[in-house]
Amino acid sequence: MFEVLDPTPGTAPPAGRLAPRLDTLEGKTVGFISNGKEGTKGFFKHLDQILREEYGVAKVVSRTKSNYSAPADPHIVAEIKGWDAVVSGLGD
């Protein structure tokens, strides 16, 4: 008989909480946080157009991380407070 120990943390890492879902995108400000890879360019350009033309989004703010492998830069994170929604995208 073996008594063996669990190698995992057992508890989930401290996680952020999702913001409440918006009733509408009409008139809202949406921020994009891109990791800056080649594949993000076409995606966000297209998404920008859809959000404005089909969903009535008032303003799209595009930001690109300085290092695509690291968390978003503090100045980008600070800007999020001024946005109603965020789309964070990878280019892979």
């Binding site: 073996f2 063996v4 190698p7």
Partner: protein, 351 residues
């Protein structure tokens, strides 16, 4: 000793294996059952209580405790005497400049290369001779494996979960090398990187697979090193142009020609820094013409400065071989060197 970890009962060794495999807690190979006794022995060896905080993983905020590292180290096959290396390697990996989350989650698929220096190599039987980059000995095999099992189980670095590697490489099973300090006139890597003479230490580097080269047709240092530089240029052309920490593994046969010519590690690094450069236009020769744009004349160096080169004396005594170990993605991750056991209060070191 009181453990925070949940425990499981299993009737047989095969039941233990199935328990760990079915939970996704392995690298696919059988594990050593992490019993309370085995884990306790590891912790006693480093004189740490189970809840000793080794560090906080900087991106996801996970607390890494000595208990969890010890469980994974036992699973990898570590004996208590190997555990100080695992603790120090993980402390180094949690330094911000290592960018552990990015390096271990990236599609780039690097592994954590662990380089050992100092007397602990001899105490644990870590060999820097025959087969140095592979299954050279028990110590480096199990220490390298422990690093990976900890990543899998503590950070959820499972393929397709946090680990998004497109290919990865075999070093992700185990990637640990001891410098052959006894058979060289060169200063050990750790001393070059500021660790006092005689202290044992660990260097970690987010590293691609080794690129083996061969030049046994000259004894001239410049010609030998030109082959290394050419391999780095090839990496810059075929893989990534980003400058950063490269490691050169130089076995005895080539090393002796360099030493006989009076070349130190610093001389090697200076030469390599001058020669490991490419023009951006060279990308057009390897199918990457689309990204040359109007910057074809720009020159790129493999490293920002010579001190980014990690020169390691290791390898079997015969054979005109060597290896270039490229960085994951240049300066996105910096190699970190830490001495073993100097942190008497065991707080993570501050920059």
């Amino acid at each position: 000793m009181q453990f925070a970890s949940r425990s499981y009962s299993a009737d047989s060794i095969s039941a233990v294996q199935e328990l760990y495999h079915s939970n996704g807690w392995t690298d696919g190979l059988p594990i050593v059952p992490p019993t309370r006794e085995a884990v306790q022995e590891c912790l006693e060896w480093v004189m740490m209580p189970p809840d000793q905080l080794i560090g906080i993983e900087p991106v996801r905020g996970l607390a890494i405790t000595a208990e969890k590292l010890a469980i994974n180290a036992v699973m990898a096959g570590c004996l208590p005497m190997h555990f100080p290396v695992v603790v120090t390697a993980w402390t180094a990996m949690m330094q911000e400049e290592f960018l552990m989350h990015g390096a271990t989650a990236s599609t780039g698929g690097c592994a954590v290369l662990v380089i050992l220096n100092g007397p602990i190599r001899l105490e644990i039987g870590a060999s820097g001779s025959f087969n140095a980059l592979a299954n050279s000995d028990r110590a480096t095999a199990v220490i390298g494996r422990a690093i990976r099992l900890c990543l899998i189980n503590l950070l959820d670095d499972r393929p397709g979960v946090i680990d998004r590697s497109t290919l990865g490489h075999p070093g992700k099973f185990s990637y640990c090398v001891a410098e052959d300090e006894e058979d060289t006139t060169w200063l050990p890597l750790a001393e070059h990187r500021g660790v006092p003479k005689g202290a044992s230490s660990v260097t970690v580097m987010a590293a691609g697979a080794p690129r083996q080269l061969m030049n046994e047709w000259t004894t001239k240092p410049e010609e030998i090193l030109e082959t290394f530089a050419a391999e780095m240029r090839a990496n810059m052309r075929h893989y990534s142009i980003h400058p950063g920490n490269y490691a050169l593994i130089i076995p005895k046969q080539l090393r002796e020609h360099l030493q006989a010519g009076g070349w130190t590690k610093a001389d090697v690094a200076t030469f390599i820094h001058e020669r490991a450069r490419i023009h951006r236009r060279e990308w057009a020769e390897v199918g990457k013409g689309a990204v040359v744009r109007d910057r074809g004349d720009s020159v790129y160096s493999a490293m920002d400065s010579p001190d980014q080169l990690l020169v390691v004396a290791a390898g079997g005594p015969a054979g005109g071989f060597g290896a270039v170990i490229p960085p994951w993605l240049g300066n996105k991750s910096y190699a970190v060197t830490l001495p073993i056991g100097v942190c008497v209060d065991c707080e993570p070191p501050k920059k």
